[in-house]
């Protein structure tokens, strides 16, 4: 039967939201990557398209803040457990109205303190501006299935030895995709080699790119494997 002449949908640049660390980084840039460029494209070509999103980096203050909160909470679990057991602590005496008033007052102070603490975590004055352009990553992909690969890498990683954790699906019981090989190219960029087994279940697989020297998180890899094969 003859093929029907019909307009085709544009192939989407991606099929899911970005939920990874880039959202945390420079949110305004990540969410409005190049509004002017988009407007221009829209005006001149009438072809509004999805621009390529940039890579960002987490502000130092925010990173510190996360660590502080994490450690604070770990230590705070002890107090939470005590609270759960009903330890009264100080302030148990006095009339209810007095205690209520004090609690309200102290509670406000506490909350305000923590809020101000967070507000104080902005990068210090004079700190260098975060760069947004990451090194180039070339992807070599071997796959029978249709697959979409998305790599997010922080800037300033040139010359580093990077590794990738095994890519995991959203189903914790499903097998992992394995760890892709991450190599360096002569031009300073990176090369990610990924092979998708034929038997791999369709779905989304993701993993962390880490620095082999200090283990720090440097980016993410996400692979979406479709149900239909390329030649179906």
């Amino acid at each position: 039967m003859a093929e029907i002449e019909r307009p085709r949908r544009p192939v989407p640049s991606r099929t899911g939201p970005i939920r990874n660390i880039r959202c945390l980084a420079t949110p305004e840039e990540a969410r409005h990557p190049s509004s002017e460029a988009e407007e221009e494209a829209r005006g001149e070509q009438g072809e509004p398209g999805e621009p390529e999103a940039p890579v960002g980096t987490a502000p130092a203050g925010a990173t510190l803040g996360y660590r502080v909160i994490e450690d604070y909470l770990r230590q705070g679990q002890e107090s939470a457990r005590k609270l759960a057991k009903g330890l009264a602590g100080f302030g148990a005496g006095g009339s209810l109205p007095e205690l209520s008033e004090r609690l309200l007052r102290d509670g406000l102070v506490w909350m305000e303190t923590v809020a101000k603490l967070w507000a104080s975590l902005d990068p210090p004055e004079g700190a260098p501006e975060a760069t947004t352009a990451g090194p180039e990553v070339r992807v070599k992909l071997a796959s029978r299935a249709l697959a979409e690969v998305q790599v997010e890498l922080r800037p300033g990683r040139e010359g580093r030895e990077l590794g990738v954790h095994p890519l995991r699906g959203t189903d914790p019981t499903a097998p992992t995709l394995g760890a892709p090989a991450m190599g360096r190219r002569e031009d300073g960029g990176f090369e990610l080699c990924l092979r998708i087994p034929d038997a791999l279940a369709p779905g989304r697989y993701s993993g962390i790119i880490f620095d082999r020297d200090d283990g720090s998180v440097q980016g993410t890899v996400e692979v979406r494997v479709d149900a239909e094969s390329e030649t179906a």
Partner: protein
Amino acid sequence: MTPAPDPPIEVAIIGSGCAAVSAAFELTRPEQRGRYRVTIYQEGWRFGGKGASGRGPGRRIEEHGLHIWMGFYENAFLLLRECLAELDRDPTTHRFARFEDLFFPDPVIGVVDRRSDAGAANWLGYFPPGAGTPGDPDQPARAFSVGDYLVRLVQLVQALLLSAGRAEGASFEQVPSAEGASFEQAQSASESLEPGALLERIARLLRYGQLATLSSALHASQILQIALRQAGRIPRSPLLGLLDLIGRAAESQLAALVERDDELRRIHELVDLILAVVRGAVRFELVSHPEGFDAINDYEWREWLRMNGAQESSLNSSFVLSLYNLPFAYEGGDPARPRAAAGDALRCCVRAFLTYRGSFFWKMRTGMGDAVFEPFYAVLKQRGVHFRFFHRLTHVSLADPGRSPLGEPTFVESLDFEVQAETRSGGEYQPLLEVDGVHCWPSEPDWSQLWDGERMRREGRAFECFWDRRHVARRSIRVGEDFDMVVLGVGIGAIPHVASELVARDPRWAEMVREVKTTATQAFQLWLREPAGALGWPEAAVNVTGIDGAFETWADMSHLIPEERMAETPKSVAYFCASLPTSSDPPGPEETGYPAAQRERVRRHIVQYLDREIGRVWPRANPGGEFRWDLLIPGQGPDGGNAEARGALRLESQFWTANVSPSARYTLCLPGSARHRISPLDHAVDNLTIAGDWTACGLNVGCVEAAVMSGRLAAHALSGAPALSEITGYDHP
């Protein structure tokens, strides 16, 4: 508008709910230069889907349920405001010309709470105004980051503390502000300390092990803040110890008092829950997880909070239960089975509580159909969109796989419809009626426009009922002739019935219809002869949830009275809603008695509820265990019920609904289900995209905002616009 250089692309949009209308709005923007020519196919006589409303007897407003928009509905408000701007109606002649004419802020939520003495009390949570207005085009940078949310959680608790401190009878404006509290008074010489001296002070404080006085806690806080400003020069450990010290001081005081004071107990529960959220965010590495909050979507919301240290009393608090009530998060509608995916619940909570703008809630001054869908209908009509009312989709036919070039996805070849009615003129059905110069959607079709309309009216044709399959014709439209692309904007419940080929061919679609569950809902509206205050409700008009009985949520909607035209003006209007326990899979079209049986069930629920339960909020409405039925304003015309009816028969003059049709059911997000959703961006069928709050639209919760996001995604899938970065909240942890 400059015409598009090429022949326009014909788009068939099925459905006219929030998602479908948003897609139509995006595809027909002037910036698209007429590239897409849209036709909307809709069963029945009106727009709106689950957001539809109609004018009934006495021009009273009759809704599908309780519709209140939330202050984080950025996409929904943006599109509506753009729509209103494009219409540019004159506010001197049109009472709903502007956004502020249609919506007003409602910053209070009420929760019926269990008291420590086993009684019930009403707790009003006040949310202070958020900066800006939802949908502001010049919105400030929004940091949708976990870290930013942690900051805002703390600020929210501040606001709730203020609410709890409200003296009885005092207005919210009289509550003293937290600004200028004694924190500033705790300035000390520490400001100028060098790191070494600062460390010594911290160490001295830590040696105490406990902050014994308020002044010491204040001093410690000040030192902590200063020390953190020197981040990098002060080791982390003592800072964390100091933080812990301050936190412990506050918690120990809470624990001393919660058993004796309900207000403090609620504060304690919230603090406990917030700590559990933050602790869980750290434990599950949500701050940097590639999947964001999706990483915890296999957990049930309360189960996840519990495993992160939340106490049972907090988990069973009325506040937490209200988080299930408002989105009907009960599997099978069963109140004993509250279930929600933790990741999506957390995402929705942080969006709702921490990113609202202007007000936590926004209420409409008229029905949702008139406030939202009438402007969209008007602007779409202005843009040249065609409307095919009374068209019920029955089948989506896919092309044989061999018809597509090798490696290309399949496509929709034809769409089959049942034509439920045809107009006498042969032209487009005109769906609106006028109420004092404003166009509104009616609760019934205008039978006079329809062929055999009077007979259809007598027969009681229910065009929106899945089980009423009566029709006057069938129609099939074909790709390349009638359409090029399709936006499937029906509810998920309808998918197995209309897209069976897709479900059979693609296992992902089969999984989606199996795993993405819905629940039926029930709702009723009362027009009363007394205001809520006279019925014993002690507070101002609010939205209250957590009520015992079949309907856990009540909203005082008396602000709608001026917009209605009833012969006897009510003193108050009350809306109630809840999930309706039914099977997760409604019966097939052959079970024609099902909708009437469910409607009768809802009627019985209402009678029982008003007789036995309404006293929780209106203690003077059911003295002696029987509702004062004479409170209800009787029939408002030939279709409004018997004006002479007495007792529970008076209920016939009011409005209620059992939302049981597959497309009318509310979408749930159960643990483990979100990953089975398919995105509007999915490309498995080349000329088809999907739209609805049941799709993978970034916010997997049944609500207007999710539907609008999905509609915008659907438009992006077909046209590339709007850019994904313009869909607020799509890229989100």
